[in-house]
Amino acid sequence: MNQPADGSQQFLTFKLADEEYGVGILMVQEIRGWSAVTAIPHAPPWILGVMDLRGVAVPVIDLRRRFDLAPGSFGPSTVVIVIRVPNDGQERTVGLVVDAVSEVYDIDFATFRRLPELGSAASTDIVHGLAQADGKTLILLDAARLAVGSLH
């Protein structure tokens, strides 16, 4: 993660089952509403399928499923955050289904903490750590790992 010299970085936050998560703003390509998704056979359960993004097939990840939360419902108010991350000289684009998009925050990295040891109770590989913004605790996600790891 690159931090600008002033020790802050902007994150787009979204809600997922009562918690606030964040991804680095530089990786967010766009935010879309829900559109039809074509299922992929033999895909992991959290991949809903692919959607057509201006002619490109983009995989869509159900984050609730990915984090083992109770599944939500998908409808007109569902939001998809499309992120684009560099990977091995190329770029990967995935869509993340979330409950609702919140705001863009400037995170002060002085409040950033890595996760304490949690054993197998939580899959922490896709979580960078925790930080505070606007009096709230944000769970900062490692978007690159999320995008790449989820696809295989």
Binding site: A17, R114, P116, S120, T137
Partner: protein, 690 residues
């Protein structure tokens, strides 16, 4: 008529090890300049009795070795031969070898013959060498008369003894030094050209001819050079060899042992025959505390005793509880009597526990020798200060605190205390001080290991931690937190884990060992000034100060020593990580929440986190919050091992019976944390309703 002697073996070994301990202590005193007929006699008697015992039991190798040792010691005590510092070194090494030989014999394994062979040969050489000249070569003849002038004041006594200007140089070539063209002979020649050189060689590492690698130098030397030359001139001689040998150069100071004047009467300083009032001398070889009589008691007997007393305490507790609910005059009298009873019980309990307690001296006693050897090996000047060696600890705690303390002291010497020239440059005394203090405080035993060395380099520690991913790139840590990073597993800032500190034994193992006996360790450091490690230990492992906590119908006991604080939490302090783990935000750290009822498969009154209490506990540097329904009283609890009745259960340290007859389970906090981390992933759906 054959007698089965094996029944006496154990006693022989125990007594021999004790005797070797007092021999070592006496040798250290000799080495420090306290020359005394009684000391030499003590040492002689130890060798003599071990020789006799080993011969009786047929331990031939021990007997042969000890015989030669005894011959040498006899020469020393009869004044035939003077004690020189090289002699003390050889004798100290003999103690080491004897210990190993006895240990091997005790294990019924053959002792490694190479072990004793080299040293035995050296001893024989000394024994056979003409009396009074022994190994060190002197530039000129020693003073006349049977008692020789001790080495430091040799050569031309008058002018040098008073001026005593020169250097003590120790050279231990590394394996590649000679191969790379550095010849110790050339170095000696050049040194001798600077003044008067007196040399002692250590040939202890010379293997058999067949095993010797002709290109590797296994000899090492200790030299005293009387010269006007300065240190830089001396160092130049070794310029090419720096890094390929262990070298130490220290200024010579006037030797306190010899009288400065060359009077022959001064010579006996190190030699025998200075009669002193024998103070408790006969017991010296036995190595006991020297008071009255004592008997050996097996540890099992004491534990049985302690167990019985523990049962008594519980029964008394039950009686008091029952009496509390009675009414009437007789009930009052009964209650009064029970109060007395309780007081007597506590006293009995404390007295019996004290039987298991031993002074920490037995551990502290190994350090003078260790510091001496380390100082020589590393070329550092060290002083050891110890206090509180009569502070008593439970025997089990004592046994387990030895290794961590050794490691901490080695760490201080290796990484803490700087080399003499660095210390001088920093305006410090060339001699570094390592301090060991033990004392009782507030129901605990505190042991502190301090040094006045360089202290912890916080920047380097932080950098290393960031490198290892233990700390975020911009995460800020308090001074204390940075210091305590060195307890993290696999952490070492030494570029090479030196042999002195031991490979693979990190500070994390030290902390774990201390936690296992219910103790706590904390590190304090001031850069440039030094560091202190403070260890807090429980007085006993059998009794625990516990906080009672209720979860549903179960009562758990949490060791007070592990509790950080107890909090009632608010919803906005809770974060649920991807629905699986719950974290509590305590000021500027996040602490995992452990729902005890889930961990133990029981029921709680509250499943909503804001309706119960969170006990923040700490073990092994990790913190978790235990979610409980209610806090109850604090009590001193006698731990009864669970294993007699149940299988060993992780996370439980034992059980105890409360006054009302209920059984309460005592939590083992490190075990609780392990159990929490081992849980299979849970789905979070059941929790969302909260």
């Amino acid at each position: 008529m054959t007698l089965d002697l094996t029944q006496f073996h154990q006693t022989f070994f125990e007594e021999s090890f004790e005797a070797l301990g007092s021999m070592e202590a006496a040798l250290l005193k000799l080495s420090a300049g306290e020359a005394d007929a009684e000391l030499i006699n003590t040492i002689f008697r130890v060798a003599h009795s071990i020789k006799g015992g080993s011969a009786t039991f047929g331990f031939a190798d021990v007997a042969a070795f000890t015989h030669t040792l005894e011959t040498l010691l006899d020469q020393l005590r009869s004044g035939q031969r003077a004690v020189q510092s090289g002699t003390v070194d050889v004798l100290l090494r003999s103690v080491d070898v004897l210990r190993e030989m006895l240990a091997a014999t005790q294990r019924k394994q053959p002792a490694d013959p190479a072990l004793a062979a080299g040293l035995h040969a050296e001893l024989q050489v000394i024994v056979k060498s003409p009396a009074n000249t022994a190994a060190p070569t002197t530039a000129s003849a020693p003073a006349s008369s049977p008692a020789p002038a001790p080495v430091p004041a040799s050569a031309t006594p008058e002018p040098d003894a008073t001026r005593a200007r020169g250097w003590r140089i120790r050279l231990a070539p590394g394996p590649q030094m000679m191969e790379h063209g550095n010849d110790p002979l050339r170095m000696m020649r050049e040194l001798a050209g600077l003044g008067t050189l007196v040399t002692r060689v250590d040939a202890g590492k010379v293997p058999t001819l067949a095993e010797l690698d002709p290109e590797v130098c296994v000899l090492s030397w200790e030299m005293e050079l009387r010269t006007e030359a300065d240190q830089a001139t001396i160092e130049q001689i070794f310029d090419w060899a720096i890094g390929e040998c262990t070298l130490s150069i220290e200024p010579l100071s006037p030797v306190p042992v010899t009288a400065p004047a060359p009077s022959a009467a001064a010579a006996p300083a190190m030699a025998a025959t200075k009669p002193k009032p024998a103070a408790g001398a006969p017991d010296a070889a036995r190595g006991t505390s020297g008071e009255g009589g004592s008997i050996r008691v097996s540890i099992e007997k004491i534990d049985e005793l302690l167990n019985s007393v523990g049962e008594l305490v519980i029964t008394q507790s039950v009686c008091s509880q029952l009496a509390a609910s009675l009414e009437g005059r007789p009930a009052n009298d009964l209650r009064n009597a029970l109060v007395q009873f309780e007081r007597h019980m506590r006293e009995l309990q404390e007295n019996v526990m004290r039987v298991r307690m031993l002074p920490i001296a037995s551990i502290f006693n190994r350090f003078p020798r260790m510091i001496r050897d380390l100082g020589q090996r590393l070329g550092k000047k060290l002083e050891l200060k110890m206090s509180g060696d009569q502070t008593e600890l439970d025997k089990t705690v004592l046994e387990k605190i030895g290794d961590p303390l050794v490691h901490l002291v080695r760490n201080s010497v290796d990484h803490g205390i700087e080399m003499p020239d660095k210390r001088r440059a920093a305006g410090k005394d060339e001699q570094g001080t390592i301090s060991l203090h033990a004392y009782h405080k507030g129901g605990n035993v505190i042991v502190e290991v301090s040094d006045d060395g360089a202290g912890l380099n916080r920047d380097r520690i932080l950098a290393k931690a960031r490198e290892r991913g233990l700390v975020g790139p911009d995460e800020e840590l308090s001074e204390d937190k940075i210091n305590n990073l060195i307890f993290a597993p696999g952490f070492s800032t030494a570029e090479v884990v030196s042999d002195v500190s031991g490979r693979g034994v990190g500070m994390d193992v030290v902390r774990r060992n201390i936690n296992e006996i219910g103790g706590h360790v904390q590190l304090y450091s001031t850069p440039g000034k030094g560091s202190t490690v403070r260890i807090r230990l429980p007085l006993t492992l059998a009794i625990l100060d516990g906080q009672l906590a209720r979860v549903g119908k179960e009562i758990y006991i949490v060791p007070i020593v592990s509790i950080v604080e107890t909090i009632q939490i608010k919803r906005d302090q809770i974060s649920s990580l991807a629905g699986k783990a719950e974290l509590f935000r305590l000021r500027d750290e996040y602490i995992p929440i452990v729902r005890l009822y889930e961990l133990f498969g029981s029921h709680a009154d509250n499943t909503d986190l804001v309706n119960g209490l969170l006990m923040i506990v700490e073990a092994d540097g990790k913190r978790v919050g235990l979610f409980v329904d209610e806090l109850m009283s604090q009590q001193q609890v006698v731990i009864k091992s669970l294993e007699t009745n149940f299988r060993a259960v992780t996370a439980l340290a034992g059980a105890t019976m409360l006054g009302d007859g209920h059984v309460a389970l005592i939590l083992d906090i490190p075990g609780v944390i392990v159990r929490y981390l081992d849980q299979p992933a849970r789905t979070g759906s059941s929790r969302e309703a909260a």
